[in-house]
């Protein structure tokens, strides 16, 4: 993205595609992600959304907050439904429209991975955006494949989750698709540029994984959504990168952190109630994993 001109607050469009007064919780990170991503996609877009917080946010009957056509589909079929929408558009001569599947982490990494993997393998002309709030938030904070180790959820109430977070973007990147990127709700401009870039690369499957803080599920006051999202990146726990045709590069805040000191990950854990049972050993283990991961990154 180095050669492209980066979007700034002043050049970002003020056209809103998401109406205010939607049903998202106060301080919802997804609100920022959805609003920014739709700005980048523009009005020539059709969405496919599985059951998730987004189903509630994008609009229930009779009023919807989204000013776009949006298909509500079953949990396991998001990417398959998007494939079908693309086929229908192609058949009716409206192939210039963006087809975007917008799903949560459970709908992407657990239940929907089969359809997504199939779509990636076939190279369907769709954009898949996964907002990762690290549990099944809409149904009441149950553990998902992408919940980090040690997190308290309603289905891991005593010791926290025992397994590590599943690295979904790497799984998708292993399909060899043209564009895989990660972004964060705390860096909307970076997200905007990535969605814009994905939309410009027509012809193959494009995947964007967005780290999305959730005040009610993670246990923090709603005003800290952006603050905690930024901590997730500055501690090195969640990196912002993009893989364009196999070329890996860190972007934005993560690129600036290479070779420099990162915030200790403990600072991030302390801000959220879901990490309340985290032991010192596990904190050290996580810090060790982050350090090992960052040792491989070069500027």
């Amino acid at each position: 993205m180095d050669n492209d001109k980066k979007t700034t607050v002043l050049t970002l469009t003020d056209e809103e595609i998401v109406n205010p007064g939607n049903r998202a919780c106060s301080g919802c990170g997804l609100g920022i992600v959805y609003r920014t991503a739709l700005k980048a996609l523009g009005k020539d877009t059709v969405l496919a959304v599985p059951p998730s917080c987004l189903t509630v946010l994008q609009g229930l009957y009779p009023v919807a907050s989204t000013k776009l056509p949006c298909v509500n589909v079953t949990f396991a079929s998001t990417a398959a439904a998007a494939t079908g929408v693309r086929a229908a558009l192609r058949a009716t001569g409206r192939d210039h429209l963006n087809v975007v599947a917008f799903a949560g982490d459970g709908g992407t990494g657990d239940i929907g991975i089969q359809a997504l993997s199939g779509a990636c393998e076939r190279g369907e002309d769709i954009i898949y955006i996964c907002y990762d709030n690290e549990a099944y938030m809409n149904t009441g904070v149950q553990r998902s494949g992408t919940t980090p180790k040690g997190v308290m959820t309603t289905t891991t109430p005593i010791k926290g989750k025992l397994q590590h977070k599943k690295d979904v973007p790497s799984i998708i990147a292993a399909h060899g698709i043209d564009y895989v990127a990660t972004a964060s709700a705390a860096y909307p401009l970076d997200l905007y540029d990535k969605v814009k870039k994905a939309a410009s690369m027509k012809g193959g499957t494009r995947y964007i994984h967005v780290h999305t803080p959730c005040p009610s599920g993670w246990g923090f006051a709603p005003q800290y959504t952006v603050h905690i999202g930024k901590l997730g990146v500055t501690t090195g726990l969640f990196d912002l990168y993009e893989i364009v045709k196999g070329e890996f590069s860190l972007t934005g805040e993560s690129a600036k952190r290479v070779g420099k000191e990162r915030t200790p990950v403990e600072e991030y854990f302390k801000t959220q109630r879901r990490f309340r049972s985290l032991s010192q050993e596990l904190t050290d283990e996580m810090q060790g994993m982050i350090d090992a991961k960052w040792a491989n990154y070069t500027a």
């Binding site: 809103e16 205010p20 609009g59 009779p62 776009l68």
Partner: protein, 101 residues
């Protein structure tokens, strides 16, 4: 079958603000912008607009000065937290009830 009949049969929603009702009623603290401190309002030039960028509900406008739509603002306080000039303060809703009556 007419388009209207078909839409009501498959429960098509119409876009519009406030599908969750007047979400401003969820608010317990209200963001109030101090125009003396707000950078774009003070200098009269478009700049900053962090409140507009980070608002999850699109209720802050990118105008001079920025305004907040209190009908739908849920009072999360992200704008106050992210304002670099500290121009936005979260004021208890109870202190407004008298003057609004």
């Amino acid at each position: 079958m007419s388009k209207e009949e078909f839409c009501s049969m498959i429960s098509v929603s119409e876009p519009g603000p406030g599908d969750g009702g007047n979400t401003g009623s969820w608010r317990v603290v209200r963001p109030v912008i101090d125009l003396e401190k707000c950078i774009p309002a003070k200098t009269g030039k478009p700049s900053c607009f962090n409140c507009w960028l980070y608002c999850p509900d699109a209720v802050v406008t990118k105008t001079l000065p920025p305004t907040i739509d209190y009908t739908y603002c849920k009072g999360c306080g992200i704008c106050a937290e992210e304002c670099p000039a500290g121009a936005i303060t979260m004021v208890d809703e109870a202190s407004f009830t008298k003057e609004e009556k």
